[in-house]
Amino acid sequence: MSTTRHLVNRQRRLAHAGAARAAATETPPERGKRSSNASKGVNSLKSKAGSEVRAPSLSAGTRSASLRAATERSLGVLRRRVSVLAPVVLCLLVVLLGAFGALAATRADSLRSDPAARNAALTDPARTSEVKGQTAKAVAALFSYNYADTAPADKAVSTLLTGRAVQQHRDMLAAVRAQAKDQKLVLTTTVTESGVEMIDGSRARVLVYADQSSTRTAGKKPETTYAAAMFTVDMVRGSGATWQISGIDTFGQGS
């Protein structure tokens, strides 16, 4: 009896210790063999466990029957332990993976929504040169004025301006329009340098250096003056891939 109890206790201990490993072990002989290097008295235990399984019927008798019952009981405990432990381990995995996923997703999102990354100035060369080109064209058209032929200037005003830029432009060109006829004034504006500061979807901001020459031919001798201008324009992409000026910032100086 004491040997049996000994074995049962041993099985329990083993089941307790090797819970993770136990998922694979459905058969007791494996268990017995694997644990054979554990301690003294191992040999007798091994032979007993082995004989119990390999030759269960003949020699062992009632002793082996009770042993089998005990083994089965301990196996039940084992199985229950595994069934309880596995979901716990999996839940832990779910939490860990979920936490990593959440961290990675927020990091990726913050990297992508970073204003620097959203700004396509220079990073999108095609869009950048499109904005530059259209800005130069719009500025040249809007800030050029010929007293003899005002149609192009009027057309530019009606097509290239939007929002508060309409009023800003009107204020800026008021003096020119008022004097143009009398002075026979021709104002020509050329963009000499432009740099795209920001492109975010359909909005853009461009820093512009422009030269303005105004020629007055009313006097005996035509006189031409040159002026340097620098300002920033806000551009908005309208329908049909045309950019319109929606705001002009002359940094507090009249242009």
Partner: protein, 175 residues
């Protein structure tokens, strides 16, 4: 048996683990992609260049005759290459001029933009709209707007100005 009640729980846990694993893989991939996005890196150096360019242009337009040594050290710190050499060569001459004129020059960056950036070669061009105020003794401070064009070169100590000038005015305009 207990097995019958625990089995569905196990299956549910396994499904959840799979889902969590899938989510983790997707999010990790997305994070990796965002962190190694070439255009994001380019955008970051564009902004770095702009900040360095604006700061350097402002430094080179700021000088107080009472604090000449520090001011001119700052000039040399902000520059590299030919520009740095020019400043170093002309330093003593310039010191004399400023000490005589006793001017205090301050500058405010109104706006700036990067026009070119070669991230590999470490070269860039910037435009900086600048308002320079010169205060001479017994005179009203005079403000003047300047259209600066600068060229930057990457050095081990960051981006520095290698050329600086004003955009030309007049009939030189060719577009």
């Amino acid at each position: 048996m207990a097995r019958m009640t625990i089995q569905p729980l196990l299956i549910a846990a396994m499904v959840l683990t799979l889902l969590a694993g899938g989510f983790a893989v997707w999010a990790g991939w997305s994070w990796y992609g965002a962190a190694h996005d070439g255009s994001a890196a380019y955008a970051a150096s564009r902004d770095k260049v702009l900040a360095a360019g604006e700061q350097a242009v402002q430094n080179l337009s700021t000088l107080d005759h009472k604090d000449l040594a520090h001011g001119l050290d700052m000039w040399q710190d902000s520059t590299t290459g030919d520009l740095h050499q020019q400043l170093a060569n002309g330093r003593s001459e310039f010191e004399k001029q400023v000490q005589q004129a006793q001017t205090v020059t301050t500058a405010k960056v109104l706006d700036g933009a990067v026009t070119e950036l070669d991230d590999r070669a470490g070269r860039a061009r910037v435009m900086v709209a600048l308002r320079i105020t010169v205060q001479a003794p017994k005179e009203k401070p005079a403000a003047k707007d300047s259209r600066m064009l600068g060229e930057l070169t990457r050095t081990p100590a960051g981006w520095k100005l290698s050329a600086l000038g004003q955009a030309p005015v007049g009939n030189s305009a060719a577009n």
